[in-house]
Subunit: 370 residues, 4 copies
């Protein structure tokens, strides 16, 4: 292998902490290159910063801009085997042109025309849908048809068969969240095709999974083993909304119930463990009462937020945006987040936090600076 052909290049600099650039050192570096070696001392600044320095940047995508593009895609791009889904992903401008919202998270708007089927497949990536507006699509998970309606959160854990079909005469759009970038980075992804059409066109109000599992604190005696992902396939808006209203009501009555004043929040959990709905993804819903400001917080790992209702201001690192229904923004690792609202603000959030908790790498900080 000649030096010039090596896939490795060592860029020596004259920085203070670097050895003198003598001819001998240059020869050594060429020797490293030809053996596919790279020294730590030229790379440590990038690899081992004092605190996480995310390549991802804070960014906002406006729902008002996404919907016309998704609609146009609905006219030009068919849904079918091969492309699999009419999903359009947020591409963080710091991540080299890849369709990644953050280094670990995928977030996309998906769009289905009246009468269309998104074909059945399964993959090791953990996934979910969240609906900010509309209804009429059923997602069929392992043969169980699950209605999708505004405010619903619909987990679809890795290796479950799933497809979707639109029962109405109107198109529907929603967001998908997955751990695609994470599994792509660590190279754990498997994928398998199922039928081209969903197994059933039944359209019940409640899925079988809800009929078995959506009873608070009750567990069917037929399913007593903990499962890595939640067996409950739909977390309905009426329950989420009710839980948040109660937290704010309890706060108003003088009881401890909210994260901080005016800030109610629930986590979607796996009823077989009490933990996160899926091994790599955390999902939550946050409600800020009118005239609320959250304390800034930093966290290891990244998040995507979607505004569900209301208006407010989101501040991430040095960026700040006025946000409204449907808007999506990302919070890169260790960037401080603060939210304020005059009118009230409802937010859906998903993050990669379970990865860090399970690997003992999670940290948070409420200090203003790192």
């Amino acid at each position: 292998m000649t030096t010039s052909a090596s896939p490795v290049t060592i860029t020596a600099t004259d920085a203070d902490d670097q050895p003198d650039r003598t001819p001998e050192l240059e020869a050594l570096y060429r020797g490293f290159e030809s053996e596919l070696l790279i020294p730590l001392w030229t790379e440590i600044g990038d690899l081992m910063p004092p605190s996480p320095r995310s390549k991802a940047v804070p960014h906002l995508w406006r729902w008002g801009n996404l919907i016309p593009l998704a609609t146009e895609a609905g006219e030009l791009v068919p849904v079918g085997r091969g492309g699999e889904r009419r999903a359009i992903a947020l591409a963080n401008p710091g991540l080299g042109g890849r369709p990644f919202a953050t280094p670990t998270l995928w977030a996309a708007i998906q769009y289905l025309n009246p009468g269309e089927d998104a074909p059945v497949h399964r993959h090791t990536q953990n996934a979910f849908r969240f609906v900010v507006e509309g209804e009429g699509v059923w997602t069929v998970v392992n043969g169980d048809p699950v209605a999708m309606r505004r405010g619903d959160f619909l987990p679809q854990a890795g290796w479950h068969w799933h497809g979707h079909h639109n029962r109405t005469d109107r198109p529907m759009a929603w967001i998908d969240g997955l751990d695609i970038p994470f599994q792509y980075a660590v190279e754990s992804t498997f994928f398998e095709f199922g039928p081209d059409e969903v197994e059933t066109r039944e359209a019940p109000e409640r899925s079988r999974s809800e009929r078995l599992w959506a009873h608070p604190g009750l567990r069917p005696l037929t399913q007593l083993t903990p499962t890595p992902a939640t067996p409950l396939l739909a977390y309905r808006w009426e329950y989420t909304d009710h839980a948040l209203r109660e937290q704010l009501a309890l706060e108003a009555e003088g009881y401890s119930a909210t994260v901080e004043p005016g800030h109610a929040a629930v986590r979607y959990t796996n009823p077989t463990t009490g933990g996160d709905v899926m091994p790599t993804l955390r999902t939550e819903f946050h409600r800020l009462a009118p005239d609320t400001a959250t304390a800034p917080i930093r966290e290891v790992g990244s998040s995507v937020y979607q505004v569900f209702d209301g208006t407010g201001e989101a501040s991430v690192g040095e960026h700040s945006w006025e946000v409204e229904r449907g808007d999506l923004f990302v919070v890169p690792s260790w960037q401080p987040l603060a939210l304020t609202t005059d009118t009230g603000l409802d937010l859906f959030r998903f993050s990669d936090t379970p990865i860090f908790e399970r690997l003992h790498q999670h940290r948070t900080s409420t200090e203003a600076t790192q």
Copy 2:
């Protein structure tokens, strides 16, 4: 110490597997006694049977007999500090006259007159209430008033402060379940007095614990650490009934949802773990559709059942009873249980199973004989 004063007596027999009763052996046994020693070989048959041989016997208590006695107690016995509760316990005839339903479980009927307070205390024993009829009492747990109504299950984990008060002009009776005999046997019990009257006479429809926790799959962000016992203080009948109806409906539609044909069942669980509501007690609700017979089952550990509705036949070991609303019966360790009904049968059950599962001693058998 003289031999005759020793608290230990060794009873030698002429059984085949015993050494010959020579004078030397008798002298040896007297020597053992004076040193407070007992040989294994005279005791092994009792201590180490081939399979569990419970001292408790299967027994049925008729609700129709309990209620008049409880009513009479309501007239003769005040509730107050010292006696603490107007609770009358089932005393299994095999357990030496102790107020123990089984070697590990306490079951009692408790009775409160209009306007009465059961004073506040706490203890390490895990407890719960289950209501087979009536309403009007609030149990106040750590200051949170919890309404009690027919069909409700109300856990009260060890070391929680609690008292009760009757808000109506009618008396109310319900059953208490605790692990008193277990904690008595292993000597782990602590007890502390609180105020003589409950902290609050508020009587809300829903307790604060329900407002925080009774939302399926949702967890308040303020309480993310798993707790040994459930933070949910009331499991309402409407949810239990709904879950059971859905299981039978799913079965009728051809899906797997029931324990066995016609037999729906739910377990009450701790939403922070997905496991049992309390570390020592398992609680479940079973519904048999009309014309259902369960397969006989044996289990290590003991259970108490209360008929909630309907009629049927309960068979435990060599006993068998026609049962109806309110009737209570016990299933000793390793005794086979079978249930049949023509008209339908609803049953509340509690057991000591978590003890055996956590200590890796649990076994079940569906074979007819041991």
Copy 3:
């Protein structure tokens, strides 16, 4: 059922906290008795004391008294099928003449003559052997012959086949510890006979289990699943002694390594989990340097100690004894324990603590009074 035949009797008293002994009350109590009911208010003082009030009493058994009786038993009592073991159990004088050291723990001296076999059986009770003197017996566990020598701790978890054989021309005695009283109280015991003679008369220095498992921090790739009980069948004295010497040496060098000044201690653990060797039994070895006194401690649950070497004073509750090699004493639940020594003291300890930890009932206190 006539009242006089009832297995239940309610003893009414004139205590202040009891209802007046009117004829109506007496009639009510007779009604309770005939229905097999007992009120809480006559029993609560016994059932729910402010803190654990153990029926067991602190007691000391002298090795010097046990050995002659065991030797005599060796001459008079054969070992064989039926009696199974020549084991002589400590019978706590507070426990009603049962062969129970404490309400949960069995402790016995076992004795085997030259050439004898203790026949093979298995049971759900967890067991171990500890050797205070002698050698020459092999215990064969699931076919693996395990040498027994002074200072060795040899666990024998529930449902493992086991028998013993003496290879030498001298008798050998050791102690057995089991959870017999606990499993007897909760009625979970199964027992099965194996062959009358041990499967193998091989007498290797090291068992196969040690060859696979007795390597610090190393785990065979063939056995990666956690097991409820330790797969290591012998914890040799040389390792225990070495670990204790190092703790005291580190303390002398100024490092934190001991429980308290002069008090070294190790716990025997399951290498597949890092936890206790068996689900119900904790086992430890404690070494007090000369001129050491331990701080008094109370604990929920009970312990048995055996002096392995040295002399000292053991104080349990209001009892206090000079102790020496082989002496055994019990510490009932919540009784304070303190140890002092001028010459140094080595102690083996076993307890029922895992029961309480797994059921969230464990407490300790270093306060002098409850």
Copy 4:
């Protein structure tokens, strides 16, 4: 933002599964780009392959080539604050010129001259050292000096302070393994400088951690809480070698002890849990007896092997190499690995498997093809 300035570019193709490249579609794609969006349908083939398709390639680094380069670096490159370590990393030719052995693992040769100190620092990356030859360096971990000698495995878990010093008059080289690429990808890395020189120049034979923890199955009573990483800082060669010899001896005696015929293996474990030594890294030692061939195996996740002794052939995917002492090779995700040896082969291995097990993404396959 103008389209041309967008960091996102969508490359449309004429593939069968892609929509027709009409002017409308091109306009839609430009619209996506200006809003920082990328469709799934152009990317799915790369993101969601049927099975893991690693960017990393199988590669071998020869110890005979590494040592001269490390020696030369020892002359030209000082060790000190800023560069921190004289470590030279393996750069997988498939990973874009980054110093990454695999997408998750860092492997480097580190070199320290006589009398040199590698300055103290700490970082969230989990690390270890493994010594294939030489001795004389002590690594000081949280103030505890740990000798490094041939065959020793020395874990250094995240956020432990550590530095090294060479006590001899000869240089020493060893390998470092870390999860740098993983933590770089998920952006969880923190780093902090400590003193420029190690805290102590003491050079004991055994570290304090070994004196507390390197006793099989024994745990100091002062440290009873499970810790995410092992408290044992040195796993000595004598124990590893002994464990492997015993497995092969047991196999020869007819017992089950090896992974497959002739293939002994141990995993280094955390004695507080029985699990992996660190949350993200698995480490093992494998010994193949002469004339042994392993069955091919695929695994999700990647490994690095270093030959410790002997010779043989390693086959990874379509690559195959004759290997000898010190040689290092990588096994990318889901590439089949097979090993053969005539003379016997000892191998150290580390992998990222705990990441996949904890996140429920682990799979293995012994089928020849995917």
